[in-house]
Amino acid sequence: MKKHTNLNIKSCFAAAVMASMLFTASCKKGFLDVPPQGQQPAIEFWKTQDDATKAVNSIYANLRSWNNVAFNAIAIESTGSDEAEKGSTPTDATFFNAFENFTATSQEGSVQDFWSGQYQNINLCNKVLDNIPAITMDEALKARYIAEAKFVRAYSYFRLVRAYGNVVLRLASPKDNTEYNLPQSDKATVYAQIEKDLTEAAEVLPQSYGAQDVGRATKGAAIGLHAKVALYQKKWADVLSLTNTIMGMGYDLFPDYEKLFRVENENSVESLFEVQAALVAGNPDASNSQYSQVQGVAGIMGWGFNTPSAALEAAFETDDPRKQATILFKGEETPQGDLIPTTVPNERYNQKSYVPFNTRVSGFNEGAQQNFRVLRFADILLMNAEAANELGNSTQALTSLNRVRARARGGNANILPDVTVTDQTALRNAVYKERQVELAMENDRYFDVIRQGRGLEVFGPKGWKANKNEVWPIPAKEIDQSGGLLVQNPGYAN
């Protein structure tokens, strides 16, 4: 028994020592101080030039996101027009019909997601604009980065303002939750901010980049977009002077209209701005553009949505080569040698987003490599023509307009004769017509017609109503959350 008692004492002592050791171990300062794993805390970011570069890169990357180039962009910017139809099989993604026949409500997913998608770009830009100024780095590069962010912010606000009218204008990321709920700004204020950003961007951005920086916003992109923004506000003198500036910057029309839209001719002499995409070998997540996939030939190169309409097919003048270059017909053989089977569910597909079948790599989105053309020189020429005509200068208008037609002709003197009318109305209509065929299936037509004031005339038969359908509804969830601070567009229910 004695022995046991000794043992007891010894064991107790041992246990107590052990216990206290363990207690100490677990209470050691920092045991509960665990940093996030595999995620860089934001307070460690925004320190170096490299951080600034990465942050600016992210802005460009997001421009190819689903919300920016796929279903939601199509629903908001294309489906309502007379040039495009829903596509795919009749029973597939029928929500598009609400955009086709103008019954879309504020609850439609695409109404919300296109909105959110643009603000996602804007948030990335605002973070750059908020944080880069304090970074110690090459000042010239810093200024350029700021200008690049302003360009993309302006581009995103332009897409927002023409889609929704009065939108929330966020020019910095919120400091705390008191800055979450902001009221809308009227269209004029939003346009003024867009023009301010573009003016400031154009002052800094270079006219061109070395090969390693191709794809970044240029001076031409900023001025060209500014011209388009002015066009939507009928500031004809601005449009004319801005487009004249561009026309003196070395841009030109790419000789072959069909080839202009192929991957190998991306960022050509005609290009002012393109959303860059690529098929990054081994990295499907970085090859995430679905721009081409959602419009690709159904079952072979994609899903077959946003198909050219019969009305578009009929809009081309006789033998206009742009018809064959814009529309992939069921049963046709493409210049790249692909045969479109006769069993596909649609008569026509968008050829401007077309990528040859043999480029498909399984595990990747079909056509992940296709850039989304935002602004090209042909558009600049047509804006120049329109503004010149509005300002009474039909000579310059005809020169610019016919330059576009001449390229489309592709050397065939028997087609697409030069336009010669000088009557302001007739010439205006000729420019409108040229825009329809030259820029077909490039997400331009729908808002272009509305801007021309012809919404009822052109889309009325599809159900478009004046004083309502000039814009889409503000997303219901945004209004709900604002507690009534946000105001719905006329004609729409919350």
């Binding site: 207690f23 595999g38 890169n57 026949n101 902001l182 794809g215 079952g299 595990g363």
Partner: protein, 1000 residues
């Protein structure tokens, strides 16, 4: 019965007095231990000479022999039976009939950090014996609990190797993981699928907050304590259990055949103003894809254990092997388990021991999308064409919804998942100064999961092809450890009994995942499946990880007076690393419970109604640290989607695209429980009733924020809501035996739960979630104040528009759903949506029976849920020309007057696929969960074969399922706010087994 107890206590008391002074010559005492109920011998009963370390064990026939002083007291212990102490009083033969503890109050239940007499428990704790778990065909112990415990709801997944979802007393959290905490022999786990059900001795389910709160940090979703088998002193006992059987799909949904499909597709095209897709709809039956891809699947199970022990050490070794085919062809799951436990009484006051479990499993996985593919695949597609190539959906212009040949999906799918798990703990327990016990335990859990997938180059059709071979390798490792130290003071004096516990724990949980992928890997043998054999320029590698640490202190006092008045109180203080930086690192979790054993009162002595009557009440607070890690830290997103293409090359992009709450506090839940335990007719009938109410405060989850903030997901995480679960539970057992030896027990249990959201920080703004992708892009649930979490939300179907004229004003067509204009504004708009159903089951119940007569035994378990709804999203989840169910085809609207409940074949159009009341169906079911008939061969025969026991049995699980739901299984499960949305569940199947239990 009561009188017997009194006698026992007096005897026990006497021997307690005598043993200390006893000193006498040793004699050999022999005897037989039998079940007090049916007089069957009980093997492996532990017999100890009180006050010494001498022990023995009964053999298979219940016989024992032990050397003890003539005036010694023998202590007989066996799980599930009341411990008896019997003074030898110079006898050399002592036969003992042990009372099954199910029938009395002396039953010991496992509670947090210890055991308690059932009598002393003041909270709601349910126990399930290992043998009840072992008697099921379930390969996962949790699955075997279904229907056994009131208030515990279990949804099985069906996938071989996958764990079921368990919900204890309703859903109390929204965002966080709803997984309960499993504590296996003192080590904490999120999942116990590494455990062979046959290794389990006992499962305790801590249902109320006072019982749970000692596990504060992780207890909010409930705690399941698992005790595994350990060795007992005596000769080695060898057990073999084996079974073989098959699994067969039950309650399959019949799909439209080719002719019916073509008819319906043409109808939908006509409605949309399109030319018919099929010129000829007379296409016969076509392909039944379920028939092509599913099969009757074999399952084999072997389990071998050896246990025993010498004077100062005991051991238990168990090996298990499971080979289960999935009902999808080629799907197979194999699991090997080994468990070893060893306990040593080194010196009288010091005991040490360890147990280790190694589990290895290998699954040839079923293609992840196969069930959706089977549902959607068109029956007009042949499996193979006449030329032997795969049937091609593109030949039929079917478009996106139905462009897959499931046979090709299956044939070119090659993925294996191997899991290795090594876990265990080592402990030392020291008794000192008479009343103190110090215990220290270190546990660890090492897990490794390896997923290897290979896609060869193939071309089944233009839409199903692989242009490059692809190799995917995933490695997921978990490394967790836990250290626990507890000090217990235990003292009984006069009428008082006091136990005081103080403890401390520290734990660390780490997981790390690495995924790598490459292309152009040649394949001739498995030896080629290496990343380095791929194309280096097409390889990617990425990883992610998580790390959390916890530090905790706790204490508890249990006091009882005269076995009548009970008081328990505990407190736990937890620190969790995920709250670091938010300033709310620590949380305090107290509890208190009291009980009154009325039947032990003097004034109850003469009454005859109650053999037991106890009233108990408790209150406690628990926490839920099962929330995202570091939620208040702003982090940088550097995902692949932010890689810019500049100069034609990928350039790393990074930016901030989330908003975080400024601070976050612990999600806490406070619960009250009032229980009444009653025994009648000598406890042949026992009844336990509980009322409970549990309120979750500051529930952490995401709520939507303005899209105009431009964050990646338009959500913010914060303490957003208060949720209440309240209800009633009733469990009753009747057990008896007739004079002829027919022994039976019938138990029933029912749990009633009401789930209600009390408050959300978004105020009157609803939280819309649920479905989305599988509910045609619409959100299908809404969580608002005064309603359950995740109510189904959508339009109310009033009928079907019979004519275009009637439908046109609403932008609809004949055959479309006619939604009720609830706000009466003349148009149907989203403002007309309403609450359509509740995915949280109100009633869960089970009936469990055991019958034994002579050598036969029969177990029948019935289980069900009632008053619950399911969203049949498979019906409406359409991208085009998916197949239809036969039920839909037969009942669809085809013209005025044909149907006022089923719409036309244009199911995906005109908002017919928006969430609406048509898709909400009752999820109630009742099933014959388990049925087992066993026959134990007479000892006369088995002893000749040198066996102690041989039992053969036949078992059926899920043999009969009754439900009205039109999908495959109403057992849908799902995370809160997304629960009950049936996108694609594993078809229900029944398992039929034949097996043996053998003891040497």
């Amino acid at each position: 019965m009561k009188r017997i107890f009194t006698k026992f206590s007096v005897l026990a008391f006497l021997c307690f007095l005598f043993t200390n002074v006893a000193f006498a010559q040793n004699v050999t005492i022999k005897g037989k231990v039998t079940d007090g109920g049916d007089n069957t011998p009980i093997p492996s009963v532990s017999i100890r000479v009180k006050g010494t370390t001498t022990g023995a064990q009964t053999d298979a026939n219940g016989n024992y022999s032990i050397s003890a002083a003539a005036n010694a007291t023998l202590v007989f212990t066996y799980i599930g039976y009341t411990t008896q102490e019997i003074p030898a009083n110079n006898r050399t033969t002592i036969n003992v009939a042990l009372a099954s503890s199910a029938q009395n109050l002396e039953q010991v239940v496992v509670v947090g950090y210890g055991t308690q007499r059932k009598l002393d428990v003041t909270g709601a704790v349910a126990s399930v014996k290992g043998e009840d778990i072992g008697k099921q065909a379930s390969q996962n112990a949790v699955s075997a609990l279904q229907g056994k415990v009131a208030g515990v709801s279990i949804a099985n997944s069906g996938t071989p190797g996958a764990s079921p979802t368990i919900t204890i007393r309703g859903t109390g959290t929204i965002y966080g993981n709803t997984a309960v905490l499993y504590v296996v022999d003192g080590v904490w786990y999120d999942d116990i699928n590494f455990l062979n059900p046959a290794d389990i001795a006992n499962i305790s389910i801590l249902k109320d907050a006072s019982a749970q709160s000692i596990y504060g940090i992780r207890a909010a979703n409930g705690v399941v304590l698992v005790t595994t088998n350990r060795g007992k002193k005596g000769d080695p006992v060898i057990n073999y259990n084996g079974s073989v059987g098959f699994q067969k799909v039950t309650n399959a949904v019949e799909m439209a055949n080719a002719t019916e499909y073509a008819t319906a597709v043409n109808e939908s095209y006509a409605i949309l103003g399109q030319a018919p897709l099929f010129a000829n709809t007379n296409l016969g039956k076509g392909t039944d894809w379920y028939d092509v891809i599913l099969r009757d699947a074999m399952v084999t199970n072997h389990q071998l254990s050896v246990s025993g022990g010498a004077e100062k050490s005991t051991y238990n070794l168990s090996l298990g092997y499971l080979d289960q085919d999935g009902i999808v062809k080629r799907n197979n799951y194999k699991r090997y388990t080994a468990r070893l436990s060893h306990d040593f009484q080194i010196f009288e006051p010091l005991k040490i021991g360890y147990n280790v479990t190694g589990t290895s499993s290998k699954s040839k996985d079923a293609p992840s999308s196969i069930f959706r593919a089977l549902y959607a695949a068109s029956p007009v597609i042949p499996v193979f064409k006449e030329d032997g190539s795969y049937g091609d959906p593109n030949d039929f212009s079917l478009g996106n919804g139905s462009n897959v040949n499931p046979q090709a999906t299956l044939d070119f799918w090659n993925q294996t998942t191997s899991k290795y798990n090594f876990t265990g703990n080592i402990y030392a327990e020291l008794k000192f100064l008479k009343n103190f016990t110090f215990k220290t335990s270190i546990g660890g859990d090492m897990g490794q999961e390896e997923v290897l997938g290979y896609i060869p180059v193939y071309r089944a059709s233009a839409s199903q092809l692989s242009t490059n071979s692809q190799l995917d390798v995933d490695r997921i490792e978990t490394r967790n450890w836990i250290i626990e130290n507890t000090l217990t003071f235990d003292k009984k004096w006069d009428d008082h009994s006091l136990t005081v516990l103080a403890g401390q724990t520290a734990q660390r949980r780490k997981s790390y995942t690495i995924n790598a992928q490459t292309r152009d890997v040649p394949f001739t043998t498995d030896g080629d499946l290496y990343l380095k054999l791929g194309n280096a320029s097409k390889s990617t590698i990425t990883d992610l990880g998580s790390l959390a640490t916890f530090a905790s202190y706790f204490g508890r006092v249990n006091y009882s007076f005269k076995n009548r008045y009970l008081l328990n109180a505990s407190i736990r203080r937890d620190g969790a690393s995920q709250f670091f930086g938010g300033g709310n690192l620590w949380g305090n979790f107290p509890s208190v419970g009291a009980g009154w054993v009325i039947s032990n009162e003097d004034f109850m002595k003469d009454q005859k109604i109650f053999s037991n009557l106890k009233l108990r009440g408790s209150w406690g607070k628990v926490g839920n640290a099962n929330v995202p890690l570091n939620p208040t830290t702003r982090v940088i997103d550097q995902s692949a989607g932010l890689i810019a293409i500049i100069g034609g090359l990928p350039q790393t992009g990074a930016n901030e695209r989330t908003i975080v709450p400024p601070s976050l506090v612990w999600e806490k839940s406070t619960g009250t429980d009032i229980g009444l335990e009653m025994g009648f007719m000598d406890n042949r009938l026992s009844v336990e009733a509980d009322y409970f109410s549990r309120k979750t405060e500051d529930a952490i989850f995401e709520i939507p924020v303005f899209g105009s903030l431009g964050t990646a997901n338009s959500v913010i995480l914060a303490n957003q809501a208060d949720i209440k679960n309240s209800g009633f539970e009733l469990a009753a057992t009747w057990s008896d035996q007739t004079e002829s030896g027919f022994k039976y027990s019938i138990s029933g249990n029912i749990g009633i739960n009401n789930n209600k959201v009390l408050n959300v920080s978004s105020g009157s703004n609803p939280i819309d979630k649920g479905g989305a992708t599988i509910t045609s892009g619409y959100l299908s649930t809404r969580t608002v104040i005064n309603r359950p979490i995740g109510n189904f939300f959508g339009y109310e179907v009033e009928g079907i528009y019979q004519t275009d004229a009637e439908a046109l004003p609403f932008n609809k067509k004949a055959g479309d759903f006619k939604y009720r204009d609830l706000n009466g504004d003349g148009v149907v708009s989203p403002a007309d949506r309403t609450f359509l159903g509740n995915p949280n089951p109100k009633y869960t119940y089970g009936i469990n029976t055991n019958f034994a007569y002579k050598n036969f035994d029969l177990t029948i378990d019935i289980q069900g849920v009632a008053d619950v709804d399911v969203f049949n999203a498979n019906l409406s989840n359409r991208f085009g020309n998916e197949n239809f169910t036969k039920d839909f085809f037969n009942n669809r609207w085809t013209g005025a007057g044909t149907s006022n409940s089923y719409p036309s074949a244009n199911l995906a159009g005109n908002m017919n696929n928006a969430p609406n009341s048509f898709y909400i169906e009752s999820g109630s079911y009742v099933r014959l969960r388990n049925m087992q008939l066993g026959y134990t061969l007479p000892t006369a025969i088995t002893s000749k074969w040198k066996m102690q026991r041989l039992r053969v049995f036949a078992n059926a699980q899920n043999a009969i399922n009754l439900f009205g739901y039109k999908g495959f299984s109403p057992e849908v499960g799902g995370a809160p706010t997304n629960a009950g949305v049936d996108g694609n569940v594993y078809p229900l199947y029944a398992t039929y087994n034949l097996g043996v239990n053998l003891t040497f």
